[in-house]
């Protein structure tokens, strides 16, 4: 049930104001109007990234608890907010070009039924795995126009591109493993309760992008203080390895990911030990919502923004072609 927000003028202001203004002016919108569904760690971090994007505009930030930290943060930034969950979007679908879902895997499945019927495209940051898997460094161009994009998981965004470098340079590899470690403070309740979906979706991405059937994902939540930065190690089983070729591929991939995730850094370059290839990356966040350690938020919110911006660019190109 949606709770009442009477008495809080900021929370009542849930019409997509900025979008209305642009409509009135006629002409094609120069920014994609997005709604963010989910006001937890991921939704709130995403809000900061969207606000910084020249191609996106947050038309509505939607949750269920008007007193949540995320909701307060958004309201304080002057972002239109609503605590009426999916209804806030379903009642005015023409106000949005795209919806980011940053709730939980079971909720995302319910939301998708509603949004699909309304013809609204969704970029899904939960591990619900409802649409095409998207990792910008690997398949950004293929993702434009997809009705539902699954942003895999934070560990998948960080590690699957490196796994792809392994299979491209070491064709004999038939087993890949990913170990992701995040700081306890950055792992919210939805991620914790959906830990099995997290593992399954990450493994599905390894199979999809690397063509490897045998794979395993491990997720560790570490409570150290001060909090540790998000780390991801990719292992592959291999007796022989062409390390120089792998290193070249990995360096190129790291550079490509750094274009949309600035804090992505190789801390253990590819090495070969005990019949296994190993390498480790660390992700520093931009410190938007949670501090710098929470790179697990940035890796997936930056990827989601990259996917949305690609859609915005495609739409601008389309509009430009129509006008010309």
């Amino acid at each position: 049930m949606a709770t009442s927000v009477a008495g809080d003028p900021q929370l009542q202001h849930h019409q997509a104001g900025g979008a209305r203004r642009r409509r009135a002016s006629g002409g094609p919108p120069e920014r994609l109007r997005v709604a963010i569904l989910g006001t937890g760690n991921i939704g709130t971090d995403l809000l900061f990234k969207v606000r910084r994007s020249p191609l996106l505009e947050c038309a509505l930030f939607v949750g269920r608890n008007p007193d949540s930290v995320g909701m307060r943060t958004a309201a304080a930034l002057g972002v239109p907010v609503s605590d009426r969950r999916i209804d806030a979007i379903a009642e005015q679908p023409e106000q949005f070009d795209l919806v980011f879902d940053a709730t939980s895997a079971p909720d995302a499945a319910v939301h998708w039924e509603v949004l699909q019927a309304l013809g609204l495209p969704v970029i899904d940051l939960t591990p619900a795995k409802l649409g095409a898997l998207c990792i910008p460094a690997l398949n950004l161009a293929d993702c434009v126009g997809a009705p539902n994009l699954c942003m895999v998981t934070c560990g998948g965004q960080a590690a699957v591109p490196l796994a792809r470098c392994i299979v491209e340079t070491q064709p004999q590899v038939d087993y890949i493993e990913i170990v992701s470690t995040s700081a306890s403070r950055s792992v919210g309740p939805a991620t914790r309760i959906n830990i099995d979906e997290y593992l399954a979706t990450t493994e599905a991405a390894v199979t999809r992008f690397c063509g490897v059937e045998r794979c395993k994902t491990i997720l560790i939540v570490n409570p150290a203080e001060p909090p540790i930065k998000m780390q991801n190690t990719v292992f592959a089983k291999a007796e022989e390895v062409d390390l120089p070729a792998l290193r070249r591929a990995v360096d190129a991939m790291v550079a490509r990911i750094q274009r949309y995730v600035p804090g992505y850094r190789l801390v253990v370059p590819p090495l070969h030990e005990h019949g296994r290839i190993a390498m480790t990356v660390q992700i520093s966040g931009a410190g938007d919502y949670l501090p710098e350690y929470a790179g697990n938020l940035d890796i997936i919110t930056c990827a989601a923004v990259a996917a949305a911006e690609e859609t915005a660019r495609a739409r601008l190109r389309g509009a430009g072609a129509a006008a010309g």
Binding site: I193, I195, A224
Partner: protein
């Protein structure tokens, strides 16, 4: 005197001591000996539990179901237990397979501050009618209040008891006694203790735990387990008997099982050696001993330095990949120093 439930993870924690290479025959033979001794629960599997065979922790010789099936054949009178860490083990892939393989008792674990990771797994197993205990690992890393809070979460998910694991063998009896007493007061469910012998205190700590109100204690044959080894089961049974606690275990048969384990499972008896003392002082998970020894050799660095560096990083169970990073960093630092000199 009180009844103490002894659970025996020789065939699970012991797998750490042989790089997870226990064979079906070894499992059958030891399970039969434990069955003869009436050890109430025999826990079997990869050292880190279901779904943990990996390049990260070590690949097991046998699959989870094969290990459970081998033990199941030999356990007529006692329960078959298994261990699961969410993050490694999933419900659909691993818990279902263990239920199908005949596991009676499940222990679902998490690092001592992260109990909410176990919620769905504990609930799921209770729905499927299993006996379920929550496990808090590396308990020296949390304050007593926090341990109570996490244990209460596990109780609310349906855990029938909560086990305090001293995974790094870092506790002293006095601090352990306080934690156990507070947990007994706070949870309303059975409280257990699982010791490691890094500082040669596993038996003393187990006695302290029982005196503070713990009613479940883990022990393994000859201490066969990760790092410096676990609390030796045969010593535990003898000491608890001498103190007047009832375990239901036949001492001679427990001694026989220990002899069999030493002869047939153990390559080298776990003991409190230099590296495991440092591991206990640094408060690092006992299972890291084997990989640290190998990787330190490979990178030409001192395994004791690696353990202290891991301790400073605050690593928990399952972060073996950090060993590579730490060893590489130490090796670079040494090379830089040599160049500088």
């Amino acid at each position: 005197m009180a009844q103490i439930l002894i659970s025996d993870p020789t065939l699970r924690d012991g797998n750490h001591a042989v790089a997870h290479q226990l064979t079906a025959e070894q499992i059958r033979r030891y399970a039969a000996a434990a069955n003869a001794a009436r050890v109430p629960i025999v826990e079997v599997g990869h050292g880190n539990g279901l779904g943990a065979s990996s390049l990260q922790v070590g690949e097991a010789r046998l699959g989870d179901a094969e290990m459970l099936a081998a033990a199941r054949e030999a356990l007529a009178d006692v329960k078959l237990g298994t261990f699961a860490l969410p993050g490694f083990a999933t419900m659909r892939r691993d818990l279902d397979a263990a239920i199908d393989a005949g596991a009676d008792v499940f222990r679902v674990g998490a690092h001592c501050t992260e109990a909410d990771l176990t919620q769905r797994h504990i609930t799921y197993l209770r729905e499927r009618g299993r006996e379920v205990y929550g496990v808090l690992m590396m308990c020296h890393m949390a304050a007593p209040e926090r341990l109570c809070e996490e244990a209460r979460k596990m109780a609310s998910y349906g855990a029938q008891g909560v086990i305090v694991m001293d995974s790094a063998g870092a506790f002293q009896p006095a601090e352990l006694r306080e934690r156990i007493a507070r947990l007994v007061d706070a949870t309303g469910i059975a409280v257990g203790f699982h010791g490691h012998d890094n500082l040669a205190l596993a038996v003393a700590n187990s006695v302290a735990a029982v005196e503070a109100g713990a009613t479940i204690v883990d022990g393994t044959a000859r201490g066969f387990g990760a790092g410096a080894g676990n609390t030796p089961l045969e010593v535990l049974v003898a000491v608890l008997g001498k103190l007047g606690y009832e375990t239901g275990i036949e001492l001679y048969k427990a001694l026989d099982a220990a002899e069999l384990a030493e002869a047939e499972l153990v390559q080298r008896l776990p003991r409190t050696d230099s590296v495991s003392i440092v591991s206990g002082l640094a408060g690092v998970f006992s299972g890291y001993k084997g990989p640290v020894a190998r990787i330190a050799r490979e990178f030409g660095v001192d395994p004791r330095d690696v353990f202290f560096a891991l301790g400073e990083r605050g690593v928990i169970a399952g972060q073996e990949d950090v060993i590579l990073e730490v060893a590489a960093t130490l090796a670079q630092r040494r090379e830089a120093a040599e160049v500088g000199a």
